[in-house]
């Protein structure tokens, strides 16, 4: 194992998508001349970025702050460990019998059972009054007393003028995120850092805000502290469930980036310009997805879509079959853009059985027919060109194998171009085909990611040998790279592989990334 310190700690989820000029001064010198941010493989031309962080929280560097208070947290650990035992080993749950569950959630699970307790990661959401709002496993009713204990913990520590961040005990980590009017609690047996767990809780918070807006949440709880928010979230639990599943599986959520459908740049440019031409007064973003991959994104000048918001859109579209029939029209809050209001999204597939889903985001709730008209114009333009055929062809091979890269012993990798906020990764090789193995590999990447982005001791590169694989990670101001080798690989081989891989990505970048993003 070898470590290289990095002096200038840049908070990762800011640095990735924030404008170049704002962060350049914070950055350490790039270790590889010629690979400065903006010129790395996959970086867009004209240094224009299609997704871009520009929200209040990014400007104030919220996660940075959280990292700093990490030090304080350790102090409170001793005292809270006792309370945690209560929480973790709670057996008698009185309220169980008066549960009035009318919803037909398939997560009925005995919350006093060993199986329930042994889940790798629990997530709970409660109101500040301690009312249960969401649990990943089991039902909220059955857990109301557990949630009560959690709330007691939160308020106990808050009364001491400490904000409770995390408790470590019994191989179990409990992380708290207070986002008034909600409190989110993660209980994890994984080796993820507090920071990573907090990031996941933040995602869940944004998921809820995206359905209701923060303004509405505040309004509700100001009027009625004791409000049962499950009423308003009823029927949407599956979105949170799926998002949690994605957090365990999707490299994009880990890297704060999205991946593209591999497509010849000539075809992609035609798709983008057809979308660009189909504009309307209140249209802010036009997004074309192929399953979980981005085909292109066209945005209004000066308006940027944050990767978190884009992932929430991916999650919404990917979790619901309701957009399959007809045209969907729904209010959606993009919390990284604006927590106060709803956008209105026109969501429809290009063809009945197609994977291609078009999302047109407007500011006007009366804009349905205008959006529908934009879609028609886009389709008319597109179907006149051969690009549509090329696009449909590309759908048949939405990914590539690591063998195509031609690096011996390399099994898998993740490469993220920081300035474009896009990443590329080959399909999982056969030994990682099963769900368990995929999650294990993702777990390894998460570990590497935690080490590289450690709040107080970030690393620039990291090599680790484990039983089943050797891993190498490298971060520069331009990119982040995570490689998984067979155990036969050596460190020297890993290092030489990096150059080879970067060359290959450079050669393929036209196809794997969006190099010329457009605006209307």
């Amino acid at each position: 194992m070898e470590e290289e310190g990095q002096r200038a700690a840049v908070s990762w989820d800011n640095s990735t998508l924030a404008p170049v000029d704002r962060l350049r001064s914070d950055r350490a010198e790039s270790p590889t001349p010629g690979l400065v941010e903006g010129t790395e493989p996959g970086a867009g031309q004209k240094s224009a970025m299609f997704v871009h962080a520009q929200s209040f929280e990014d400007l104030t560097g919220e996660t940075e702050e959280e990292a700093q208070t990490d030090a304080e947290l350790d102090k409170s650990e001793g005292e809270s460990a006792e309370d945690l035992k209560v929480l973790v080993s709670e057996k008698a749950i009185e309220d169980q019998c008066n549960s009035i569950s009318t919803e037909s959630r398939s997560k009925e699970e005995d919350v006093s059972s060993e199986a329930w307790r042994s889940h790798r990661k629990h997530v709970f959401v409660l109101s500040e009054a301690g009312k249960p709002i969401y649990t990943r496993y089991g039902t909220e009713e059955a857990l109301s007393s557990t949630m009560g204990v959690m709330m007691a913990l939160v308020s106990f520590v808050e009364a001491e003028k400490n904000i409770i961040r995390s408790i470590h005990a019994d191989g179990c980590k409990v992380v708290f995120l207070t986002k008034s009017p909600l409190v989110l609690v993660g209980v994890s047996r994984t080796c993820q850092s507090d920071k990573e767990l907090l990031r996941e809780l933040q995602y869940i918070y944004y998921q809820i805000v995206s359905l209701l807006t923060l303004t509405q949440l505040n309004h509700i709880f100001q009027h009625k502290q004791n409000y049962d928010l499950r009423r308003l979230l009823a029927g949407s639990e599956y979105l949170t469930d799926n998002l949690l599943h994605r957090l365990d599986r999707d490299p994009g959520l880990l890297l704060s980036a999205v991946t593209c459908l591999p497509l010849a740049s000539s075809a992609r440019d035609v798709v983008s310009s057809s979308l660009q031409a189909a504009k309307a007064k209140n249209l802010v973003f036009s997004i074309l997805l192929a399953g979980d991959r981005l085909v292109t994104l066209v945005r209004k000048k000066e308006q940027f879509l944050h990767h978190i918001d884009l992932h929430l859109v991916f999650n919404l579209v990917g979790s619901s079959s309701s957009f399959r029939e007809g045209e969907g029209w729904t209010p959606i809050c993009l919390p990284k853009f604006n927590t106060a209001g709803f956008f209105h999204a026109h969501i429809s597939y290009l063809e009945p059985a197609s994977e291609l889903c078009l999302i047109l985001v407007s500011t006007d709730r009366e804009d349905f027919f205008n959006m529908s008209d934009c879609k028609q114009r886009f389709l008319e333009r597109l179907s006149k060109r051969s690009a549509y055929q090329a696009l449909k062809e590309a759908l048949k091979s939405p990914t590539y194998t690591v063998a195509q890269v031609g690096i011996p012993e390399l099994r898998h990798f993740l490469y993220k171009s920081k300035s474009s906020g896009l990443y590329t990764s080959p399909e999982f090789p056969i030994m990682y085909q099963s769900d368990e193995e995929q999650e294990r590999l993702m777990g390894l990447y998460q570990d590497l990611h935690s080490c590289l982005h450690h709040p107080s001791r970030p690393l620039r590169s990291f090599y680790r040998c484990s039983e089943a694989e050797n891993l190498f990670a490298w971060v520069t101001s331009g990119f982040e790279l995570y490689l998984c080798f067979s155990p036969l690989a050596t460190k020297a081989l890993a290092v030489s592989a990096v150059n080879k891989l970067l060359k290959w990505i450079r050669k393929e970048e036209d196809r794997l990334f969006i190099l010329s993003p457009l605006t209307y």
């Binding site: 520009q54 009318t102 359905l211 209701l212 009423r231 308003l232 979230l233 009823a234 029927g235 949407s236 599956y238 209140n282 802010v284 209004k300 000066e302 308006q303 919404l316 979790s319 619901s320 079959s321 309701s322 957009f323 399959r324 029939e325 007809g326 045209e327 969907g328 029209w329 729904t330 209010p331 959606i332 604006n338 106060a340 209001g341 709803f342 956008f343 209105h344 999204a345 969501i347 500011t363 006007d364 709730r365 009366e366 349905f368 027919f369 205008n370 529908s372 008209d373």
Partner: protein
């Protein structure tokens, strides 16, 4: 079983193109989540049944029905029954020519909810301008029935609406319902001055602009 609708002579769902007028009819589906609104809409549009996830926001579908002397283009707004979307539903029932209020015959609470929808609708409508229909869906679940046909019929006649029981799953009464709706809306609303507008491809956007009422009401402003 629900009330059987008579098969209407002279009406066909699929007929060859003829130079007769096409009129637009706005239809809205209302009711609790899970009662089968989207499933009914899919029956109307494709005569298919598929289980799908709950509607997000609203879904828009169209279906053309040919009557003997006119063609109706139903523009169907399939609303989401989930409570969080309740506040936006007025957008969809505003100006509707047909309002279908749906409940699930195997779930009593959806029947209570249907009454609420009826009350809300009746505050908005002048008798005669909208065809309102109460629908008890899921007749295939007769074994688990919680709302009797008599109750459904009584509520409908009390409020002066039409009533049908359907099964989106089996397709029982769904085609008949669509045809009956077409006749009702044409004879009732269509006969009135300015009742139904004529459909042409270009008319779409214009009509929409006419329907706008308060552009300031949309809450999200774009800007830094």
């Amino acid at each position: 079983m629900g009330e059987n609708l008579p098969r209407v002579p002279g009406a066909q769902l699929h007929s060859s193109h003829s130079p007769i007028r096409t009129l637009r009819a706005k239809m809205v589906l209302l009711g609790s989540s899970g009662v089968g609104k989207s499933s009914l809409a899919l029956r109307f549009v494709k005569d298919e049944f598929k289980s799908a996830s709950p509607t997000v926001g609203c879904a828009y579908l169209t279906r053309v029905v040919h009557l003997s002397d006119v063609t109706l283009r139903f523009e169907i707004w399939d609303t989401a029954g989930q409570e969080k979307y309740h506040s936006i539903t007025p957008l969809y029932y505003r100006g509707a020519h047909v309002a279908l209020v749906v409940y699930d015959i195997s779930k009593r609470e959806t029947f209570a909810r249907a009454q609420m929808w009826l009350n809300e609708l009746q505050k908005q409508y002048i008798q005669g301008s909208t065809v309102m229909w109460l629908i008890g869906n899921k007749t295939d679940l007769n074994q688990e029935r919680q709302v009797s046909v008599q109750e459904g019929r009584a509520l409908a006649s009390d409020k002066g609406l039409l009533f049908t029981e359907t099964s989106a799953l089996s397709g029982n009464q769904t085609t008949e319902l669509l045809l009956a709706l077409a006749h009702r809306v044409y004879e009732g609303v269509g006969a009135q001055q300015g009742g139904l507008s004529e459909w042409s491809v270009t008319a779409q956007a214009e009509l929409h602009h006419r329907e706008r009422f308060n552009p300031v009401a949309s809450c999200c402003k774009v800007g830094p």
